[in-house]
């Protein structure tokens, strides 16, 4: 469902960020992306949600290829993905409810669909009681849950998480990770970049380690078609 084939990414000013990266992620998988700072984890995620395009090679997401992707296809692709970040990226002057509903509004969904769906999502992430709060009134863990609820709004096939627990304490980290596992349990693939090696070790999930833009090991790429 996600397939990188000999992907190279060269940024104009900083040079090679990824080199000859090939891997695949299947439906419903949970994959960690690990590696030192600057190794290229975020770049891989950006290539997946088409924030960047590969310099060479191909990135294929849910049958959409980077080679043929046009600017106007990006929006449609992103509705199949959910993305969360270390810094949450919420609209601070809108309620929790509005933040989650936002992702549905941009697809043109009617209010009659949005309202119950938002309520269900907030229940799923355990924030039903905070629907009318503003993000700054929430803890970091809670804000990340709002971001996750928003990422799930359009029923994505993959949830991308770029250091989602980077700003959270131990307890909140475990809570958010638990939530991601639950979401993965419902069939959504999850790809999570992290520095938290304890978390990776404890969880027994597949992990891909990057260093200097190359995959140094992958605990479980058993998907076919690797060149």
């Amino acid at each position: 469902m996600i397939r990188f084939t000999r992907v190279q990414k060269v940024y104009p000013r900083t040079g090679v960020a990824l080199d000859d990266v090939t891997f695949g992620v299947g439906k419903g998988e949970f994959v960690f992306l690990t590696g030192p700072s600057g190794s290229g984890k975020s770049t891989i995620l950006k290539l997946i949600f088409a924030d960047e395009l590969p310099t060479s090679g191909e990135v294929k997401i849910a049958n959409v290829s980077s080679a043929t992707l046009r600017h106007r296809d990006v929006a449609r692709l992103r509705r199949k993905l959910g993305v969360v970040f270390q810094d949450f990226r919420l609209l601070e002057d809108r309620t929790v409810e509005a933040n989650v509903g936002f992702a549905l509004e941009v697809t043109g969904a009617p209010a009659s669909v949005i309202r119950p769906r938002v309520a269900r999502l907030l229940t799923q992430v355990g924030l039903a009681s905070k629907a009318h709060a503003l993000p700054p009134e929430l803890s970091g863990g809670e804000q990340q849950r709002v971001a996750i609820a928003r990422a799930l709004a359009n029923d994505p096939v993959v949830l991308l998480a770029d250091e989602p627990t980077g700003n959270l304490d131990e307890r909140a980290t475990r809570g958010v990770f638990q939530l991601l596992r639950e979401i993965n349990g419902t069939g959504t693939a999850v790809m999570m970049a992290t520095h938290d090696l304890d978390l990776v070790k404890r969880s027994d999930c597949r992990s891909i380690e990057i260093n200097h833009g190359r995959i140094v090991f992958d605990t479980g790429d058993n998907s076919p078609g690797v060149v």
Partner: protein, 296 residues
């Protein structure tokens, strides 16, 4: 209310200072445009008033039977049928607004009233009868005037045709220069207004760059992102236009009281001005947002 409209209105509420600043900037650039428009309008008015005075005077030949009989009686009824028929002909020319017969008596009266104290230099009968022709607007350029004059001259009882050729020529030149200068200046002003408005909207776009990136992140299309900004731009443009219209009107009133009273835009032009403001706001927004979307 659509989402886009709501977002646009929300922008005003969330950034009232920035919005007020944009509206003020737009208002002042349109105000400058409005003042220019007012000057242009009044110059045009003045020129068209002058143009109204473009007139062809066709003198009826001296000593002809027609002339003398008319002169003797001093009124139009006495004018033989051939001249009255010609008058009808001339009136039917497509370029002609009015054609009127001036008998020698009337001509004398007119000359006396125009010349005041020298009035008694004229004796009855000195002045010939004439047909005075005024042209419709749009046919007052030298070529049309000359053509009509030539056609009138072809009547055998017409002895001479005068229409102040040089004067018509000069007026026409002035009008052309004024039109060209007006168009060039007007376009320049409009362009400057678009640039100013575009940059104030650019500020609004930058102020919401984060929001735009989040919209795009969750799968908003470019047109979806653009729409609230277009509405916002059009609204700001219309508001700026209204303020500018008011300022222009107030300035006109003050000038009218202190210096001389000038023509103001009619309702149609005023509404068109506000619409132009909205349009400029729309275009400025489209350009700013388009540029921003392309850059991310």
């Amino acid at each position: 209310m659509t989402l886009a409209t709501r977002e646009a209105l929300l922008a005003f509420r969330r950034a009232p200072m920035l919005s007020a600043l944009s509206v003020t900037t737009i208002a002042f650039s349109l105000f400058a445009f409005g003042l220019f428009g007012l000057v242009a309008l009044n110059i045009r008015e003045a020129l068209s008033k002058l143009e109204d005075r473009v007139e062809i005077r066709a003198f009826v030949g001296d000593g002809t039977a027609i002339e003398s009989s008319a002169a003797a009686l001093g009124d139009i009824q006495a004018f033989p049928e051939v001249a009255t028929a010609a008058l009808g002909d001339i009136q039917a020319f497509p370029e002609v607004a009015t054609a009127a017969l001036v008998t020698p008596t009337q001509a004398l009266e007119r000359a006396r009233s125009e010349l005041g104290e020298f009035s008694d230099v004229f004796d009855a009968g000195i002045l010939p009868a004439s047909i005075d022709v005024r042209l419709k607007p749009g046919f007052r350029d030298p070529a049309s005037v000359r053509a009509v004059a030539a056609r009138i001259r072809s009547y055998e009882f017409i002895e001479d045709v005068r229409f102040g050729e040089e004067w018509v020529e000069k007026l026409y030149q002035i009008r052309n220069v004024a039109t060209i200068a007006g168009t060039v200046l007007g376009l320049t002003f409009a362009l400057v207004a678009v640039i100013i408005i575009g940059s104030t909207i650019r500020m609004a776009v930058l102020a919401r760059a984060r929001e735009i990136s989040i919209m795009r992140l969750v799968g908003a299309t470019d047109s979806f992102v653009r729409r609230p900004f277009l509405i916002e731009g059009a609204l700001k443009g219309a508001m700026g236009g209204t303020v500018a219209l008011f300022l222009t009107w107030a300035t006109n009133e003050i000038i009218g009281r202190v210096v001389f009273s000038a023509e103001f835009f009619d309702v149609r032009l005023s509404v068109a001005g506000i619409f132009a403001g909205a349009l400029i706001g729309l275009v400025g927004s489209a350009v700013s947002v388009g540029r921003h979307l392309k850059s991310v």
